[in-house]
């Protein structure tokens, strides 16, 4: 959703320079999810739903505490519940709040062809502008986290906005406000990284989680939602958090070299036929009948 006070850093499918870029000293914002203190209470889910004004919908029992199998176009925030047995036999019940990661190098934005449908603000928020969305869902393909969801009725794609409308007026995202245990934190990226790093260190030094760490994947340039995980070596256990997420190389190839190669080839083709015409001209049929046309 759009908002005034945020400074835009990059926008999708846009020719030419980004208006207003590099004119503000806004800091990067970041949401820290300390998975080790999440109790799966779903307050964030409800807060998200209520703030974004989406209706409550029907769900079905699916042998889990998880509200629904996956995020939906009108459900941006889902706690994933996973029963996990580690290689040493330790059993754990992992609860991870899943939502848009707000990548510094957003695959969705790279893939999006629509002018201004995806906006990356200077503070790190990656936001979909549904009025510019053409419904092509390339963002779905570009996202390494399986986040954007398509509304087949309106043909628009939606995802977590990191409450850009709240952040833009100096409030924290709705999920942060609702979290009862302090598992969710919000602040500058530097502060959150520091906090996460210290928490991970505490876990390594004072608990059995000697492999705790901070999930801020470099493959997408880091994210503006970061996790503290009990076991950084196995993010997949937390409901399919990719170990090393990257913007798909085909998307990069397509939006990078292939685009320029294609442009060049198309231009070359047009140039070639023009030159050919200038050099050789048309093929004339030599008519051997008087009534034949030239």
């Amino acid at each position: 959703m759009s908002n005034g006070p945020l400074e835009i850093k990059a926008i999708s499918g846009h020719a030419g320079p980004v208006p207003g870029r590099d004119t503000s000293r806004d800091y990067d914002v970041c949401k820290l999810v300390d998975v080790t203190t999440c109790i799966g209470c779903k307050a964030c889910e409800v807060a998200c739903l209520e703030w974004n004004g989406y209706p409550f919908r029907e769900t079905v029992f699916d042998n889990t505490y998880q509200t629904m199998p996956d995020l939906a176009w009108n459900y941006y925030n889902l706690i994933r519940f996973n029963e996990h047995t580690a290689s040493d036999g330790t059993f754990s019940w992992l609860m991870r709040k899943d939502q848009c990661m707000h990548c510094a190098d957003p695959g969705c934005l790279r893939a999006c062809p629509a002018d201004g449908a995806i906006v990356q603000y200077a503070n790190g928020i990656v936001d979909f502008q549904q009025e510019n969305c053409i419904g092509c869902q390339y963002c779905v393909t570009g996202c390494p986290f399986n986040i954007p969801k398509f509304n087949p009725e309106t043909k628009k794609v939606h995802k977590c906005t990191l409450c850009s409308d709240r952040v833009g007026v100096g409030l924290e995202p709705a999920c942060i406000k609702a979290c009862p245990t302090g598992c969710l934190h919000f602040g500058s990226k530097d502060d959150m990284k520091d906090l996460a790093g210290r928490r991970a260190q505490q876990l390594r030094e004072h608990t059995a989680h000697t492999n705790a760490g901070v999930y801020d994947p470099p493959g997408v340039g880091g994210t503006h939602v970061i996790y503290v995980l009990h076991d950084i070596s196995n993010p997949e256990a937390y409901g399919g958090l990719p170990a090393n997420p990257r913007v798909p190389w085909t998307v990069k190839l397509w939006k990078g070299p292939l685009k320029w190669l294609g442009n060049l080839a198309m231009f070359g083709g047009l140039l070639g036929v023009t030159l050919h015409y200038l050099r050789f001209g048309p093929k004339q049929v030599k008519e051997d009948h008087a009534e034949g046309k030239s």
């Binding site: 209470c41 029992f61 042998n63 019940w93 245990t181």
Partner: protein
């Protein structure tokens, strides 16, 4: 809670057992997390299931439901065997050194001395201290001891041995009693493997390793402890463990009950129990022929070792009682008429929750006012409650939704013809929701917090107080017109509200706090409270009719300085999370009870970093960050005990006389329905005093009849009891009823998650889908492989999913038995036997 929610952040060690705070108290669970985050506190979770709380724990131990006393008893033994006790605290602040009188017998065979098999009660004469002086080094003489006084009373001068070596010291008896709770025995009973138990025991008691007195551990529990046939004794065991470890009264310590409703603490404070009056005064019995008899019976006399001192705060009982009578009956309570004592109802027997339904089932109770509670769904043995309602003449339900009680005749299984036979007249009153009312909630931390109404009640809905006031005034009118057997208590009840038909809760709160009826002077303070003024605290209460107070423990909540319960001060100068200016905590705005015990005998805090109160030698009084829970000018040298509400002034490891119905020490008894005989004494498997009912619907199952799976019940974060099933948001989060089944058991049955199953107990059945989980594992209990399953209680036959035909329309409490604990009369919802099959 002895302490408070925020105070949990001060702890070093948490034992969370019989509760699932992450699930049921998610907001309060912030503080255990804070303790972990800021203090590296350790959290041990002991539960029948791997819960949401367990997900954040350092150590999880799966325990068989209903065996908590065995586990805690094992911890007590561990503490004593491994010298993890707080020695000074134990000797000076508990009755460890007190000598128990001769003739008292420990329950090696499952019974204490004095058991009467005919009435299933105890003659508690031997459950007492010995009289007279220091017995240090004196040999114990044989014999049964002196005959006890009649009625039995505590000796004023209690015999003691501070070396704890006398064989009849509480300490030695305790050691002997719990010597049977070896790790091997704990494993047999609880199903917790010995190595796991020892790991938990070592971790929890590590706070007292090598004589450390600074560290603090807390015990956090909820109805997973109370809802058993030995529930009260379970909590006692925890309290004893905390006394042994010296954790009571200290920041980050205590025994902390998490209340399951936003105002359940307020309900008990305000006499939501049949045998209590407001402020935990006892309801008169038939023997209390006049006020004097009553007050003599309920006012304790100090009983302590000679050189020690005891504040015995309950000695003020007459002041509290007379002030209550003045609040209830105003000018009609006069000295000449015993302050209208005879207006008070007297109880002849128990009228607890389960008894009310039993009485109705037997046709004695003809009508029921059900306000804000769903008696059918609450159970236990819901089918019996439904049948009871069929026999009632009338039922009034005040609710915000139609529920299982207000539509009891729609219970599945009742045919149209049967429905026509039901003659109960049902009145449904539209109540107001919590956000539509102002007033107070008393939270688990004993804080009275005022809330404002968020919006007016919709449509014809009315506030509770208006509905009750209109009923009362109508009843009073009828008494005025028609007389009746005993109209005085109704005609003379105080009802001086600005709008008698709709009293404001602020007015009632002020009335509960109490005011001076005549000028009251405290000569020590040289201060006078003028007649008509609000009282500043319960120290001002008098037994001469010059004060009135609806509840002495709330006295100080709404003073001349204003509504203390509406305060919103966020200052916390000590950093201990005391927030003295936020709302108001009973008693006297104290945040941690028994906080004198946070200091050593000389009045210095055990841990200076967590100083709550201390003795100020210069001022000659107790001062501190919290309000001292003590006689403020009693110097340490006087050795006044910190547990001022006990006549001994100390914490009770041994509960003498009438304190507990079923034994001065806790003993493990099997749940009423149990897969094994009690390994401690197979001839006495169950709590001999647990109350069972005897109607044809009170049936019990055994493994021999095929009921060989243990079932427990609980709530979910996503739902609140039986009314959020009417709210789309909650229904979205958890749409349907389910039963949690261990994956191993599901494999044996070939059952997959999502399949419909039928859970059957001796009393009824429950239909829901299976949630197959690895969070519940099989256990070896006394050599037998045993499975536990769990049922969240939130569904019934009215609600969104129910009305849409998506559920089996059964209530979980159709399974649970109506067996009650002998002390608190709480039914055994948390452990019974079932069998399961595909539906």
């Amino acid at each position: 809670m002895t302490n408070g929610w925020i105070d949990i952040k001060n702890t070093d060690m948490m034992l969370i057992m019989g509760g699932n705070p992450a699930e049921n108290h998610p907001c309060g669970f912030k503080w255990p997390i804070e303790a972990k985050r800021n203090r590296n506190a350790k959290m041990i979770v002991v539960d029948p299931r791997f819960t949401r709380t367990a997900a954040t724990a350092d150590l999880f131990v799966q325990l068989r439901t209903g065996t908590d006393i065995a586990f805690l008893g094992g911890l007590i033994r561990y503490v004593m065997e491994n010298n993890r006790i707080a020695k000074d605290y134990l000797v000076q602040y508990t009755n460890a050194a007190f000598i128990v009188r001769k003739g008292f017998k420990l329950p090696e065979d499952g019974l204490y001395s004095g058991f009467d098999a005919a009435t299933h009660t105890y003659d508690k004469a031997t459950w007492n201290y010995e009289e007279g002086g220091d017995l240090k080094g004196k040999p114990d003489t044989p014999g049964d001891g002196a005959p006890s006084a009649n009625p039995p009373a505590l000796p004023a001068d209690v015999a003691y041995d501070l070396t704890l070596e006398h064989p009849r010291t509480v300490f030695q008896l305790l050691r002997k009693h719990f010597s049977r709770y070896t790790p091997e025995m704990v494993e047999r009973i609880t199903g917790v493997p010995k190595d796991q138990f020892l790991k938990a025991a070592d971790l929890f008691t590590s706070i007292r390793k090598d004589g450390d007195t600074k560290k603090v551990g807390t015990i956090i529990y909820a109805v997973g402890w109370t809802q058993h046939s030995s529930g009260t004794q379970t909590i006692r065991t925890a309290a004893m463990l905390q006394l042994l470890l010296g954790n009571v009264g200290r920041a980050g310590g205590g025994v902390n009950a998490l209340r399951g409703h936003s105002n359940i603490q307020g309900a008990t404070d305000m006499a939501g129990v049949f045998d209590l009056l407001p402020g935990y005064l006892k309801v008169p019995t038939m023997a209390d022929v006049d006020l004097k008899t009553y007050l003599t019976r309920i006012t304790p006399k100090a009983a302590k070792p000679g050189p020690w001192n005891s504040f015995n705060y309950w000695s003020n009982t007459p002041k509290f009682a007379v002030s209550l009578l003045k609040a209830l009956y105003g000018e009609h309570a006069r000295k000449e008429n015993d302050w209208a004592f005879h207006y008070l109802p007297k109880i002849d027997r128990r009228y607890s929750w389960a008894e009310i339904w039993d009485d109705m089932y037997r046709g004695h109770v003809k009508g029921l006012l059900a306000f804000g509670m769903n008696g059918v769904a609450i159970g236990p043995n819901s089918s019996k409650n439904i049948d009871a309602l069929k026999k009632a003449d009338w039922l009034v339900v005040c609710e915000i939704y139609p529920d299982e009680t207000s539509e009891f005749w729609k219970s599945p299984g009742i045919t149209t013809d049967e429905m026509k036979q039901i003659q109960t007249t049902v009145y449904r009153l539209p109540g107001a929701g919590f956000a539509e009312k102002d007033g107070t909630f008393v939270n688990s931390a004993r804080w009275l917090q005022w809330k404002n109404a968020a919006l007016p009640p919709p449509g014809l809905a009315r506030l509770d107080q208006e509905i009750l006031a209109r009923i009362f005034l109508k009843v009073r009118e009828l008494y005025q017109k028609e007389g009746g057997k005993f109209p005085d208590p109704v005609l003379h009840a105080t009802w001086n509200y600005t709008d008698p038909h709709n009293p404001s809760l602020a007015e009632i709160a002020k009335e509960i706090n109490g005011r001076a009826l005549a000028d009251v002077t405290d000569p020590k303070l040289n201060q006078t409270i003028k007649a008509g003024q609000q009282l500043p605290g319960f120290a001002w209460l008098r037994d001469d009719g010059s004060t009135s107070s609806g509840n002495w423990i709330f006295c100080g909540s709404w003073t001349e300085a204003g509504a203390q319960i509406q305060r919103r001060g966020t200052e916390d100068p000590s950093g201990l999370g005391i927030y003295p200016n936020w709302a108001w905590s009973w008693p006297a705005n104290r945040r941690v009870l028994y906080n004198r015990a946070s200091c050593d005998l000389s009045g210095k805090p055990w841990d200076p970093d967590r100083a709550q109160v201390w003795w100020n030698e210069a001022q000659q009084k107790w001062v501190g960050n919290d309000v001292p829970d003590f006689k403020p000018d009693s110097p340490p040298k006087d050795h006044m005990g910190p547990f001022i509400m006990n006549p001994e002034g100390i914490g009770r490891l041994f509960v003498p006389l009438a304190g507990m119905a079923d034994g001065p020490f806790p003993e493990h008894y099997e749940p009423t329905e149990s897969p094994i005989d009690n390994p401690l004494h197979p001839q006495q498997t169950h709590n001999p005093l647990a109350k069972r009912f005897s109607t044809p619907l009170d049936k019990f199952g055994s493994p021999a009849e095929g009921y060989n799976i243990i079932c427990t019940t609980y709530r979910l974060t996503e739902h609140y009891h039986y009314w959020t099933k009417n709210n789309p948001m909650n229904v979205q989060l958890v749409p349907e009823p389910f039963v949690e089944i261990p994956a191993e058991l599901a494999d044996e049955m070939g059952l997959r998650g999502g399949e419909k199953i039928k859970v059957t107990s001796a009393r009824g059945h429950y239909l829901a889908k299976a949630m197959v989980t690895r969070r519940i594992k099989s256990m070896i209990v006394d050599g037998k492989k045993t499975y536990q399953i769990g049922i969240p209680i939130h569904w019934g036959y009215r609600g969104i999913a129910e009305d849409a035909g998506k559920t089996g329309l059964t209530t979980a409490n159709q399974l649970s038995p109506a067996v009650t604990d002998p002390n608190a009369y709480t039914p055994e919802f948390k452990g019974f036997l079932v069998k399961i099959e595909r539906a």
